[in-house]
């Protein structure tokens, strides 16, 4: 009897406490979620993007917040694993009741939550998911970067016009939407321009052995080798490329960002497309790089810049809407037309993809013996 009473008291207590927890701060805060891979294979992106989002939120709050309210950022780690992204999303949507989410970072993770975000009318702006289909779930899904149709074309065009390549080999991850999308678009453009894709080989995420595929690729003697994947896998592939004796230059896309801190000399002479170059002369870029460096002591990568931009796009829309009603904020998001760190952002009304330019960078050895990514050209849409 006593036990039952104690139990029911406890239940009542828990319910009351959770009631208070539910209302906590509801009045003077606007909650924004961020889903980023803070750990795991692409953590170098996730941590920098998180820091950049936090920096943007701190700046906004320091300037008085939005409509008299402070922004509260809730960060969740998804380890670049779509299942964990779904869990993080559910937590943000049901427990924290966020207005919008900056994330996810990788295309595969973003795709795992777009449908539900659309259904629940939660504004989602992915800073860096470039796969073409990310924004097709509906009008509440945005992104701050260009997409892979464009990126694949940029790399293909660069390979033909600047590197004068005729034969290309592709090695891609056939279980990753990002990698597959880039491969399709690269191939299409490269062949359109008169080149030939001589060999296409694939692997699965988390594979470590690429010797078989590379032996096959070596046999076809390509002019360039396109590897559309993220830096940690690329560094593993690149070592095997060199130990198999393939000397064709390697090409990559924005997933290569951070390769200079995560690979050795084997990637020297490779090229990849990116969203911005921290050594560009642009005032917005310089200002952002300076602020970020002061705060976190490192030069921000492109994904950090995109995270920063995405946060501003979302918050400024909330500000203009004057409320957190998702439909009103969505309408204001569509009206975005302003120059940010990574360039002009104006959403295409049908696809909600921003129309932006890309830069190509080359991996070189700097004077201090460290690898650097040097600016090699800008390609406009």
């Amino acid at each position: 009897m006593f036990k039952a009473k104690a139990l029911s008291l406890l239940v009542v207590f828990v319910m009351v406490v959770s009631l208070f927890a539910g209302c906590n701060g509801g009045g003077n805060e606007i909650k924004i979620g961020a889903i980023q891979p803070i750990s795991g294979q692409v953590s170098a992106y996730g941590t920098q993007t998180r820091d950049a989002i936090q920096m943007a939120v701190d700046e906004i709050n320091a300037a008085g917040g939005v409509n008299g309210k402070k922004i509260k950022l809730i960060v969740e780690d998804d380890e670049a694993n779509p299942e964990k992204t779904v869990n993080a999303f559910k937590k943000l949507a049901t427990q924290d009741k966020v207005v919008g989410i900056v994330g996810a970072l990788t295309s595969k993770c973003s795709l795992s939550i777009t449908k539900e975000a659309q259904q629940r009318k939660i504004l989602m702006i992915s800073p860096s998911s470039t796969n073409d289909t990310v924004t097709s779930a509906g009008e509440f899904i945005f992104r701050a970067c260009y997409n892979d149709s464009f990126q694949g074309q940029v790399v293909a065009k660069f390979a033909q016009e600047t590197l004068k390549a005729k034969n290309a080999a592709i090695l891609f991850d056939n279980t990753n939407d990002y990698s597959k999308g880039l491969r399709d678009n690269f191939k299409k453009k490269f062949e359109e321009l008169g080149g030939k894709v001589v060999v296409e080989e694939s692997y699965a995420t988390n594979d470590k052995d690429f010797n078989a595929q590379l032996t096959k690729i070596k046999g076809t003697n390509p002019d360039v080798l396109f590897i559309p994947d993220y830096y940690s896998t690329v560094s593993l592939i690149a070592k095997q490329v060199k130990s198999q004796g393939i000397n064709a230059p390697m090409l990559g896309a924005d997933g290569w960002d951070e390769i200079t801190n995560n690979a050795g000399d084997e990637v020297i002479g490779s090229y990849y497309s990116n969203h911005y170059s921290p050594d560009a002369k642009d005032a917005d870029v310089q200002n952002f790089v300076k602020k970020y460096q002061e705060k976190y002591k490192i030069v921000p990568n492109a994904l950090a810049a995109l995270g920063y931009d995405a946060t501003y796009v979302l918050v400024e829309a909330i500000k203009r809407a004057g409320s957190t009603d998702p439909v009103k904020v969505q309408a204001e998001m569509m009206k975005t037309d302003k120059k940010y760190v990574t360039g002009q952002i104006k959403f295409d009304p049908a696809t909600r993809n921003p129309v932006k330019s890309a830069v190509m960078v080359k991996v070189e050895k700097g004077a201090d013996g460290k690898l650097t990514a040097g600016y090699a050209g800008t390609v406009n849409p």
């Binding site: 380890e79 056939n174 694939s202 470590k208 052995d209 595929q213 070596k218 593993l236 050795g264």
Partner: protein, 314 residues
């Protein structure tokens, strides 16, 4: 490159991969042979060994991007194998021994639990952490580079120094194991215990010690395989043991679990089948073919290629 050369090259890739699988498979098969336990934590012991090697090779005063001192490499192998052997024994004493009389399924579940603890334990330890780390690469060791160039000049097939080294080390370790099992007193006791544990005990064999020794040897082999794996695929992270562990387990079953030559054979078959499929059929089918071979073998010969047919005692 003509077809024969390409085929030779792919065989080399397959044998190099297979020798790593074989080393891991040996640990599975030895433990199974004696305690009838499929030690699912074995792949994670590989990870522990790889990290132990990583810390030796990147310790103070060395270039973290390459290994050019063969002595450091030897030291890395010795320390990693010792650390892993210790891990193996501790796990056996604390987790498996209390359950020796319990149903086998309990032991199996415990093994899965140990595996999860090791993976996630490694994730939270600050100097390991969840992020992949670059393992140093083998570079500028004149003897092995020389062999590699000689083979290239003679046959046109390119065997990278790492592949040569992993093959040599794997074979050496297998020979050592062969010697221990067949020509030492401990080996005799191990064989006796695997044949009939009760009778072995009655004959005065300290079965507890023999089981510990078996776990220690299995774990040491996994550690060596871990370093070889990390040399071939230079990246270490807490989950790195899962896939090679699984493949090696399949290799052990393929060769006949409980049989030591079977594990070696199974490892090489898996490595070669996987590589040749990637090279000549399609890289998407690599795992399907490797596991398909397993199914075919098990249908034709359920105890594996070199496994003994054991009848269930009623």
């Amino acid at each position: 490159m003509n077809f024969m050369q390409e085929f030779g090259q792919q065989m080399v890739n397959g044998i190099a991969l297979g020798s790593v699988y074989a080393l891991i498979a040996l640990g599975y098969t030895m433990v199974y042979g004696i305690v009838k336990l499929i030690n699912f934590a074995h792949g994670d012991i590989l990870m522990v060994g790889a990290f132990a090697g990583f810390f030796v090779l990147t310790a103070n005063g060395q270039d973290p991007s390459k290994i050019s001192n063969p002595l450091m490499l030897v030291l890395a192998f010795i320390i990693a194998m010792a650390v892993s052997a210790l891990f193996g024994v501790i796990i056996e004493k604390t987790c498996y021994k209390p359950l020796r009389k319990a149903p086998k399924i309990n032991l199996l579940i415990t093994a899965i639990g140990v595996s999860i603890v090791l993976e996630n334990g490694a994730r939270v330890i600050p100097w390991i952490g969840p992020n992949p780390k670059q393992f140093p690469v083998l570079k500028d060791i004149p003897i092995i580079d020389g062999i590699s160039q000689m083979i290239k000049a003679q046959t046109g097939v390119f065997i990278s120094p790492v592949q040569i080294l992993s093959f040599i080390i794997a074979i050496l370790l297998m020979l050592m194991l062969f010697y221990i099992v067949n020509f030492t007193k401990t080996g005799k006791a191990m064989r006796a215990a695997s044949y009939d544990m009760g009778a072995a005990q009655l004959m005065g064999i300290n079965v507890d010690n023999i089981i510990s020794v078996t776990f220690a040897i299995g774990a040491a082999l996994a550690a060596a395989a871990g370093i070889l794996f990390a040399l071939n695929y230079p990246q270490v992270e807490p989950y790195m043991g899962i896939m090679p562990g699984l493949k090696a387990f399949v290799a052990a079953v393929l060769g006949g679990i409980g049989s030591i030559p079977g594990a070696m054979l199974g490892g090489f078959i898996m490595g070669i089948a996987e590589t040749l499929t990637k090279g000549f059929i399609s890289s998407k089918l690599a795992d399907a073919v490797a596991f398909g071979i397993l199914i075919i073998i098990l249908v034709i010969k359920p105890s594996g290629i070199l496994g003994k047919n054991t009848r269930e005692k009623v």
